[in-house]
């Protein structure tokens, strides 16, 4: 078992009244985020990144974007953050302990 540093992503909500959720898109930099990028669905306005399986091996610099989604599936423009360093991949443990 390893311990991953705890990171939380959050954002102020969309001001539109018919928003039912959000989508968090991500791409390894320098690739820009698009609506075809990998994403996870977000029900609230914060995500504990260390608890998201898709981010378990993140160990690079990423571009991320969040869009609002309404009940018909329409999506807003992105709120973007570029060149975010992520390191959610724990190092290898040290070798066997030896008592001398």
């Amino acid at each position: 078992m390893s311990k991953i540093v705890e990171k939380t992503l959050s954002f102020p909500p969309s001001s539109s009244p018919d928003v039912v959720g959000y989508k968090l898109y991500f791409e390894e930099a320098p690739t820009e985020v698009t609506y075809n990028s990998p994403h996870i669905d977000v029900s609230g306005t914060s995500v504990a990144l260390h608890e998201v399986p898709e981010f378990a091996n993140f160990d690079s610099v990423y571009n991320i974007g969040v869009s609002a989604v309404d009940d018909a599936g329409n999506e807003s423009n992105f709120s973007l953050m570029s060149d975010v360093p992520f390191d959610l991949f724990p190092p290898e443990p040290p070798g066997q302990l030896v008592l001398t």
């Binding site: 939380t8 992503l9 954002f11 928003v19 306005t45 609002a68 807003s76 992105f78």
Partner: protein, 140 residues
């Protein structure tokens, strides 16, 4: 504050007439006042027995959204949901005791090039309201 963006057009809107009503040639205009949309038309009937009924059709949800009825030549409304909408209008007799089967005109569609024009030229139109994006991302 709701941040719907409204695609605005200035257009002429003619209504198919039912013979018993003799309703025709409305000039309908859209404006915005903050978050509201104002639809206006020229009340060429000028009759106390005529009211106008306006509704929208949501492409995404495939439902009609009733905007309202009025005897005036304007109606104000706000989009409650994002998406693409076309507009419909028809004229009705208020007192329908003597109009038989001709109490309403046909619905006229804002994308029907037979009737809709923009800036005087035949052209369909629609209204689009988009979702406001969430605020800036914070990671901590």
């Amino acid at each position: 504050m709701k941040k719907f963006f409204i695609a605005l057009c200035l257009f002429l809107f003619s209504v198919t007439t039912a013979s018993a009503l003799e309703l025709r040639d409305y000039a309908l205009y859209l404006e915005t006042t903050g978050t509201n949309i104002v639809a206006k038309w020229d009340d060429t009937n000028n009759s106390a027995n005529v009211e106008y009924e306006v509704r929208l059709y949501s492409f995404e949800r495939q439902v009609f959204v009733a905007i309202g009825k009025t005897t005036n030549d304007t109606i104000t409304f706000a989009l409650q949901k994002s998406g693409h909408y076309t507009a419909y209008i028809r004229a009705n007799f208020i007192d329908q005791s003597e109009c038989g089967n001709d109490c309403y005109t046909d619905w006229v569609l804002s994308t029907d090039l037979t009737y809709a024009t923009v800036n005087g030229a035949p052209r369909g139109w629609w209204v689009y309201g988009y979702l406001a994006a969430p605020g800036p991302i914070i990671i901590e």
